[in-house]
Assembly symmetry: D2
Homo-oligomer: 346 residues x 4
């Protein structure tokens, strides 16, 4: 595959020119129209593509051959780190971004209390599930749209952007109406219709790694989103399934440097799911920062023993506050920083 | 949880009686209205449910306490094997059912040729993918509805019912219009919206095991379908992901007796995906029959080297025909049989 | 690497000639002196070895280039199945060989009772551990030499050859004095000093697969034994460690056809460890026979609930007797047979 | 099991008193005679042991009931961190200890050059294999005793204590003559004869985690060593085998806090094997320090491309020197430090 990056001001005619040329030669076309520029993937036997001829065609900025199965996600395609703003913070740059909140939105008071506690402790973004993927049809499935409304209220009160999971294509418009970041859960990493829908939405996406996904497959799932022109994708390591039983999952710390080498996308660590027990969350959070993660997402609950889901892996606000201080020390030791979460007038 | 099985002729009023009684005591209700009878799940602390009182209530046939997390799927709930007809064959009984066909429908002539060859060799049901889940957005994604039409034409010519994959909730009505069995792929085993949709559809479902799913999680996914009143669910072992590299997956032969112990649902083996290489398919197919599988699903392609997907694991029709004979010998050695696939006038 | 197979009657001088020639050219030599013939491995850059010249040298029978990392174990090196006798039975041929007995020798009466029951039921070889590898230093570690003596007595009474585990190089002579087959346990698959010692012993060896060993690594461990000139090695699949929890291990049924393709060595299945629960042993045993195993090794105990180890996965003699009959039916369905275990005068 | 800790000055008679008492009651005894004190394990049904009576017996310091399968290794048995000196450094305390050197000793000049470079960069202990466990019998198996002599020479020149692997019981005396720390490799984690031998040796031991060992099994292997009275054991996480393929192993960062909770033994990280590629070693080393490891062991080679083993995962001395500086910054951020490796007069 060759990736043809068009100039920002390339005309419709210039784009059509490339497409016709490639199709006439028997290639297939993958078109990705982003807000700034158009990318044309020319798919077929690379050896017979005349790269020089392509580069000389009108409107073309550059032509990139990509050997890896993921293309737009690869460092070959985009050598510099992808950075983008969420609220007042930039993800993928020098700052370490902290997302925190309960596993599930359980009530208005619970999410508001937790949001304020997280904000106070230094979190930048509020997490909370309104639609919950649960192994059992008989378990609590989340509060649905009501939960989204409470999240929005928490954002209003604290100024924190919100991240929440979307589980099916038909709900993307609803969830996107409330959320600042759409989360794709581990179970849905290869739900292609959903990847398509969040790709189309143009909302920032946090893509969790599937429970037993190869890093390559995970990047291929990011490619599905990117190929719809949505470039704001974060990769979230949340532990893989192994034989070990003391922990719920095995947090794959190796994945952080591997991703940093293979892709330009920001990398977020989820030590709550990565360990499954709050006692281990602090160590693995610090480890993730030291390894080079661009952010973390943590489960925090004021009364974990009463949580409707994942209480076992949730930190209390006091411990979370201490952990933010610890993260700051480590971030500085590796040349980064944890930005201050600015106060919002009550 | 207690499962309250209502008498077949229980009235609406009797059902409401149970529900009100349970809700008044603070229990949650899970209602499943099947074609024949209604099942009411009473969810809450089992210890405070007065089982005897429940059993004496009007319209109640029996009350079953279920300790396992999967309820309707469990042998505790239904001790006898589930059996149902697909076309002229019964799945889950003495007969071993053979499903065969290409990974993807690639053209009208390819599917018709393969269907006739499979029928000739002894297959009972035709498989073929029209919507394909592919790791790469740049790979062939299936022929879509056109493929479904060719499958229907193959059914008309050969008399074989067809099984094909459905990947998203919104496509369930379309696929169900053509298919006799809806297949849920490994990547979608925990796509709950999709499980909900196929549950509602009341079509027979073949539920593939997720790549790294615990048997318990897999049965919980079956429970999602069953809890919508759709009782015709088959469990399909297709190999799990391990560290071994000579094979694409590790076929979990243990899962066959484990499922037979835990559930009443029919068990189907998929040695094509379970090994990933055609040279190993024959041995593992024979093993599955010996272990007690109720059926197998196999990839067959007239020219595997030209297949658009999974050619590496597809058998040629001649080898498949020999394998059907081998399966028959083993089926008979374990007290079962491979029924003759009746001829259909051309 | 090139493998130089010398003629059976090659003289010492001819062998030295090859060695000097190769060493002068800078190659390293791996010498394997078997009872019948000598094999000289010429290790180095294959491309610069003049194969034709080598083949013309005095005393050389043939020269085999081997691309796989395992050499003597590979089908490239020896296309025909390895067969050898243990007692009155031939392993690796048409007959399916059944090894059975308790996990541990627990007392004289226990092993004698079990041996007679196994013989009666149709077993050909008696298993029983005298030295036991146990995770805990506080668990029963086996009866040691006393256990070996009881095994020998059981052999005398029943006529069955015995297989028992050896755990350390220094004990190989002692165990070999009593045992007909030396078993290398899963934990010791890469205990190279032990592989060396059993290689030297020239006793038949049953090599269990390590808990998480690649098939390739397992064949490399066989190569360690073979490279000491001991050609009587059996590969024993006993399940691998995966994430699944209903079973103790995941029996890798795929390994049977994979091994049959890669190596000429006999393949033995161990469904007792491969499942870890007796309820599943029967299905997986039948599956192994259907898949092409040359033999099985099963744990049988007259009172599993009293067993000092592995009672959970031990069959009672009655069930074992029925299983032998089932195996016979399946063996015949795949063109093999279970030979009658001849009576021995009491 | 009850663990009876005897007073340091307990007499032989007092010890025998306990033992006779317990044996008369039908308990089994596990005796561990350390340099300072004797520990008597009383094995049997805990419920019938009269703990108070035991505690009042002459010579007894305290009685500890241990619920976990590992006893002496558990925090229940010994709440405070185990600390001990190696050369001038203390392991298990505030200081982070750095072990570095080549995978294999390849020549006198190679090990001397590397040792000086490691010392210069800040390493405290020199690693280097003289006996190498290799998957293939045809690979370089190490220099043997000659390698040990070169290591000793390197120690003399640099002042660094040396750690090297011992692979079989019969070689423990030889290796212990040269080495300051005995390393048990991953493949030998359950080689019980070897654990016994290093337990007897009373030399400090670094116990690598088996490739697919549960943390509990790993602690049980430590228990084998401890139960011989050797208390100087370090637990070394070196990655586990999973399905992921971009890295050689998956470094289990979770194991660090898990071990810190379960055991008092020092924890060492091996990011070289844990990742298998030098590009990822730096991130994972920093992560390990942040997670709470007491030390690291790293492969360093002046010319990795020429290394006879593991070149792919070896750092060059310059990068290693930078990494030592990075580790110091992170160690300080988590309240620890990297001590200066004192100069030795040339």
């Amino acid at each position: 595959m060759m990736i043809v990056v068009m100039q920002p001001n390339a005309s419709m005619q210039e784009k059509s020119g490339i497409i016709s040329w490639a199709e006439d030669l028997g290639f297939k076309i993958h078109l990705s129209t982003g807000s700034e520029r158009t990318i044309i993937g020319v798919i077929g036997d690379d050896r017979v593509i005349n790269r020089e001829q392509l580069e000389r065609m009108s409107g073309v900025e550059r032509v990139v051959p990509v050997l890896k199965p993921f293309k737009i996600a690869s460092r070959e395609f985009k050598p510099n780190d992808t950075q983008f703003s969420i609220g007042n913070h930039v993800i993928g740059g020098k700052d370490l971004i902290i997302m925190a909140g309960p596993c599930s939105v359980e009530s208005r008071s619970q999410i508001l209390e937790t949001a304020h506690a997280c904000k106070e402790a230094g979190a930048h973004i509020l997490r909370g599930g309104a639609f919950k993927p649960r192994s059992s049809p008989y378990s609590f499935q989340g509060m649905g749209e009501e939960g989204l409304k409470y999240l929005a209220e928490a954002r209003e009160q604290t100024g924190m952007p919100i991240i929440t999971e979307v589980m099916e294509p038909s709900l993307v418009p609803l969830v996107a109406e409330y959320a600042d970041i759409l989360q794709i859960g581990a179970r849905n990493m290869q739900n292609y219709a959903l990847l398509h829908a969040v790709g189309e939405s143009q909302h920032p996406v946090l893509l969790k790694r599937g429970m037993s996904s190869l890093i390559e497959e995970w990047l291929m799932s990011a490619e599905y989103i990117l190929s719809h022109g949505n470039t704001r994708v974060m990769m979230c390591e949340r532990g893989i399934r192994t034989f070990e039983r003391y922990t719920r999952n095995t947090f794959d710390i190796n994945a952080i440097p591997v991703l940093k080498q293979l892709t330009h996308l920001p990398v977020i660590a989820d030590p709550s799911h990565g360990t499954g027990k709050w006692e281990y969350v602090e160590s693995v959070t610090k480890a993730s920062v030291a390894a080079g993660a661009d952010g973390v997402i943590l489960e925090v609950h004021p009364r974990p023993e009463e949580a409707m889901s994942d209480g076992r892996q949730s930190l209390k606000p006091e411990r979370f506050a201490q952990l933010v201080r610890d993260m700051k020390a480590i971030a500085q030791a590796v040349g980064r920083d944890v930005p201050v979460a600015e106060r919002v007038p009550a």
